[in-house]
């Protein structure tokens, strides 16, 4: 009997699911068709919740100099961070570009070797060549401060999470949330407490940069082989001895990798931090984007990329070297090490003394400046002129046939039907819990008074995710099946992941103008590398003998892919979808900056005009709601599919 029912239940549920999703969609379409335009929520003026946020904002402004919370907590943090940044800024001006380049190259030489020392020198000189010496130094200072503080907080917390299961259980979900939220979303909240300015920028950066430091430190500590930990324990080591003699030294490599990830996270935040008035390269990108000056944006983006490459290469090399470095024995290596230290000190001395000899050497010589703004602008103009037909055709086609209909379906159907429909879809995909979360999150967006903006953003995210999955699966299958393709494409993907997201906006803007489509394409470019990698990983993890047996029973390549490899990689495909959708959301809201509208625009507008500060805060929250909703649905899809297998 039990066997019979056990057999019946899943099959009837499977039947349900197969038909239920199309049924919901058709019903929704019918309601849209006949109930068009009724019961829509307006994008009207500030609602009560936005008013309320505005009042909080005003109260915070009023209390900034009287409330103890501000006087003793927020203000000191902002002030200390601010003054550290400004004193370091003046230090960099005093050292001049030669001093900074000398110091940076010397440090790279010490931690990563000759080649990387040279790379650093070239990278730092390139800032001047691009004509962005001052901006680069501002960015550099902010990155250093943010990374230093992030590590100062993140590494001890990571150690704690590595040795204590209890703390790890508490901190992991917090880190998960911190990483799925688009950074954009919490900017308004940060400015509420710390006002706009460099300090806020640093704190926003830290929120994004601390999680990798904690995660990787904890992972490194946990990876240490239990055999070694046990051995030290069996010899009577105290907890502290165990930590300092065994766990930290053996986790060193992973911790340095954490430094690398923290640095990359901080770098990817510089443009976003610029939205709340953090100066530097990010600000150059933003102001150029707003003026639609593709060349200037590209020039600043290039400087960011140079900085990212230097940081990434040097810290990666440092992480690889940490193991070898501690054990360099023998007279010969002793000598080369001395030489390295000597050369480094020489570089610093030279760099610092030069401006002392002649003050004019402190500033980067004008005749060496060769910015890329004008050439890029002429290329952009040429492209716009000659490709205009193709790009505008693409833009209008996708907009007309995909974006507009979906957006209309989402925002012109009576809103209760939309909430019900999405909740039902969530239910059939993932079960009851994601359905409840979906309904709750949508109600949240309504409460924020930002229903139309939310639906605009959601439509873009869905379409972006669709394109991303098509491209991700196409390339992922190719990479997963062909070693050659993998070797060819993977370096490009790696490089793509190092670049700060805003940089992608620049060429997209040049090609497609300030439209929603631009935001989608930028999101596609931003999210694809991760998705392709995960899909390729899934394809590769299909056991070779399964594939071989399919081939030996006469399947052609297409059948092998569609009937064997993709179904078996389904778990990974769903992970890819989840990651892809989170990445797309992060970028689509950024697209609000260049005419994609939606919640991103509301956030930015909130910084720009103080009367809209309440709307900005509400939009940040609405992004959070969308993020949680999309994350829960895609995650539960993975889970429920697996349990019914």
């Amino acid at each position: 009997m039990t066997i019979l029912t056990a057999d019946l239940v899943p099959s009837s549920r499977r039947f349900d699911r197969r038909w239920s999703i199309p049924v919901v969609l058709v019903a929704w379409w019918l309601v849209w068709r006949f109930g068009f335009g009724t019961h829509n929520l307006p994008n009207g003026g500030p609602t009560f919740i936005q008013d309320w946020f505005l009042r909080i904002r005003n109260a915070a402004d009023a209390g900034r100099d009287s409330s103890p919370l501000f006087i003793y907590f927020f203000n000191p943090i902002a002030k200390t961070t601010g003054s550290v940044i400004s004193s370091m800024m003046s230090l960099t001006t005093n050292l001049g570009w030669t001093g900074i380049t000398g110091i940076a190259s010397a440090i790279s030489l010490w931690v990563a070797g000759w080649r990387h020392g040279l790379l650093t020198a070239v990278g730092f000189i390139s800032f001047g060549v691009l004509g962005l010496e001052a901006e680069s130094m501002q960015t550099l200072v902010q990155i250093i401060v943010a990374v230093f503080l992030s590590l100062l907080i993140g590494i001890p917390l990571g150690v704690w999470a590595g040795v204590s299961n209890g703390f790890s259980r508490v901190v992991t979900p917090v880190l998960d949330i911190m990483q799925i939220l688009p950074t954009f979303a919490y900017l308004p909240l940060i400015t509420l407490f710390f006002l706009i300015g460099p300090a806020s920028g640093t704190i926003a950066t830290m929120i994004y940069a601390i999680p990798p430091a904690i995660r990787l430190t904890a992972a490194g500590i946990r990876e240490v082989s239990t055999a070694t930990v046990e051995a030290s324990e069996s010899l009577g080591a105290t907890k502290w001895q165990r930590l300092t003699d065994v766990q930290l030294p053996m986790a060193k490599r992973t911790i340095v990798l954490g430094v690398n990830q923290t640095m990359m996270a901080a770098l990817s935040m510089i443009t976003i931090a610029a939205l709340i008035a953090a100066p530097g390269l990010g600000a150059s990108v933003i102001s150029a984007l707003i003026k639609l000056d593709v060349g200037a944006a590209f020039n600043a983006g290039l400087a960011i990329v140079c900085m990212a490459i230097v940081f990434d290469r040097v810290t990666t090399a440092a992480s690889v070297r940490t193991e070898r470095a501690s054990r360099a024995g023998g007279a010969a290596s002793q000598r080369t090490r001395l030489l390295r230290y000597g050369a480094g000190i020489g570089l610093i001395a030279l760099g610092v003394i030069l401006p002392g000899i002649n003050r004019s050497l402190a500033t980067f010589p004008d005749r060496w400046v060769h910015g890329t703004r004008n050439p890029v602008n002429s290329v952009a103009n040429w492209t716009q002129l000659h490709w205009y037909g193709a790009t505008s055709w693409l833009t209008t086609t996708v907009t007309h046939w995909l974006i507009d209909p979906l957006q209309s379906l989402l925002s012109n159907t009576p809103w209760p039907v939309v909430v019900l429909g999405l909740a039902l879809l969530a239910y059939f995909v993932g079960g009851l819990r994601p359905a409840i979360v979906t309904a709750g999150c949508l109600m949240g967006a309504i409460l924020m008074g930002l229903w139309p903006s939310s639906m605009t953003t959601l439509a873009s995210v869905l379409i972006g995710a669709l394109f991303t999955m098509i491209i991700g699966i196409g390339f992922g299958v190719w990479l997963g099946r062909s070693r050659m393709a993998d070797q060819l494409i993977r370096p490009i993907l790696d490089a793509g992941q190092v670049m700060p997201p805003f940089v992608y906006l620049v060429p997209c803007l040049a090609l497609f103008g300030a439209t929603r489509f631009t935001g989608i394409v930028a999101a596609l470019v931003y999210a694809s590398p991760a998705v392709i990698k995960i899909v390729a990983e899934g394809i590769r993890s299909v056991p070779a003998n399964t594939t071989e047996s399919a081939i030996s029973s006469g399947s052609n390549s297409w059948q092998t892919i569609v009937k064997v490899q993709l179904p078996m990689a389904r778990g990974m495909l769903l992970v890819a979808l989840n990651q892809g959708i989170i990445f797309v959301l992060a970028m689509v809201v950024v697209g609000g900056l260049v005419g994609a509208g939606g919640l991103g625009f509301d956030v930015v507008n909130g910084f720009a005009q103080s009367v809209f500060a309440g709307t900005g805060l509400a939009a940040g929250l609405a992004i959070v709601f969308l993020g949680i909703m999309l994350d829960r649905i895609t995650q539960s899809a993975g889970r429920s599919r697996r349990t019914t297998d």
């Binding site: 051995a231 030290s232 069996s234 030294p249």
Partner: protein
């Protein structure tokens, strides 16, 4: 009968249950369930169930059993690397279960040490510093601990490799480092958790000889875990066989082979060449009427293999003697039956 010396370590009613609320299992009816049923009903795994034994000073005590039978857990309970759920452990009269952390550290630093299957060496330290680590933990100064480490490195035959890093050594050499590290603190009790199972057979045999040699030289009490029966028979004064966490049989090697307690033990010992393990005691029989009683005498503790030549060359049945008394006779037939009754020895 001579008086039994005080055991080095004594274990009574030892339990280790993994899972939620393990303490409720011990003493409840659920404790009687099989391991699989217990797991299904309570989510708990009884890794060690109600184990009792004494280890005499200077003895090599071997614990054997299939993978998952609870050997590692048992030995870790003895030094409280794993907290026992119930039971008593007494080391030289001291209650180990009641010891606080400070006392435990003291014991681990000076009285116990352990050699691990996967070595557990510190990859970022040279051989000499790995060997000296136990002394460093105690707070010994560098010169003294290095001097001591050099002695031990020599004892295990690693001189010349003091400045190497572990990953520059072969598996066998790495385990010698593990051994040296354990010996450096001059412990009274050495624990070995399958120390040689990651090594290939030739090196393994060399290391076993090494342990036997060390045992004769330094006379330490050793508790040795293995799942290799030939290793157990070679090293062990006594062997404890475990299954699903419980002790199945405890005895000398010839007792296990000659009188296995159940099919599980018999299965274990099936492939052992009996003549290599059993003593004459096991095959001595009462004289048949009229049999000549003027054959040579051999002690009852002689391994059959070592007696073959004498028995075959003797013109009359060999007299098996124990404490000056005749235990029985052994003739050609008896010996041949033992040899013929066994399967071909498995070649390694």
């Amino acid at each position: 009968m001579n008086v039994e010396p005080e055991p080095a370590i004594s274990v009574r009613g030892l339990w280790k249950v993994f899972g939620p609320h393990p303490e409720r299992i011990v003493g409840s009816p659920e404790a009687e369930l099989s391991r699989a049923d217990l797991r299904e009903q309570t989510g708990c795994t009884a890794a060690v169930r109600d184990v009792n034994f004494d280890v005499a000073p200077g003895e090599v005590f071997v614990v054997m059993g299939l993978s998952g039978s609870g050997k590692s857990t048992l030995v870790r309970c003895l030094t409280r690397l794993v907290e026992p759920t119930a039971g008593q452990i007494t080391f030289e009269g001291e209650d180990i279960v009641a010891a606080d952390q400070a006392r435990l550290r003291e014991l681990r630093r000076h009285r116990f040490s352990m050699v691990f299957q996967h070595f557990g060496l510190l990859p970022h330290r040279k051989v000499i510093d790995n060997v000296a680590y136990g002394l460093e933990v105690r707070g010994m100064n560098k010169a003294d601990r290095h001097a001591r480490a050099h002695e031990v490195v020599e004892l295990v035959g690693l001189q010349g490799y003091e400045q190497a890093y572990p990953d520059q050594l072969s598996g066998g050499m790495q385990q010698r480092v593990g051994l040296a590290r354990a010996l450096a603190v001059d412990p009274d009790l050495l624990f070995f958790d399958e120390p040689f199972s990651a090594l290939d057979p030739l090196i393994r045999r060399g290391m076993q000889d090494e342990v036997l040699r060390l045992h004769h030289e330094v006379k330490k009490t050793m508790i040795f875990i293995t799942h290799d029966l030939s290793e157990a028979l070679k090293l062990g004064d006594r062997i404890l066989i475990m299954r699903d966490g419980a002790a199945v049989q405890l005895g000398r090697p010839d007792e296990l082979v000659g009188a296995p307690a159940d099919d599980y033990v018999a299965d274990f010992t099936r492939d052992v060449p009996k003549s290599h393990v059993l003593t004459l005691r096991w095959i001595a029989r009462p004289p048949v009427v009229g049999e000549p009683l003027d054959g040579p005498e051999l002690p009852a503790t002689t391994i059959i293999r070592d007696a073959i030549r004498d028995v075959m060359h003797a013109t009359a049945p060999v007299k098996v003697m124990s404490n000056g008394q005749l235990l029985g006779l052994v003739d050609h037939e008896d010996v041949l039956r033992v040899i013929a009754g066994e399967p071909q020895p498995v070649s390694v």
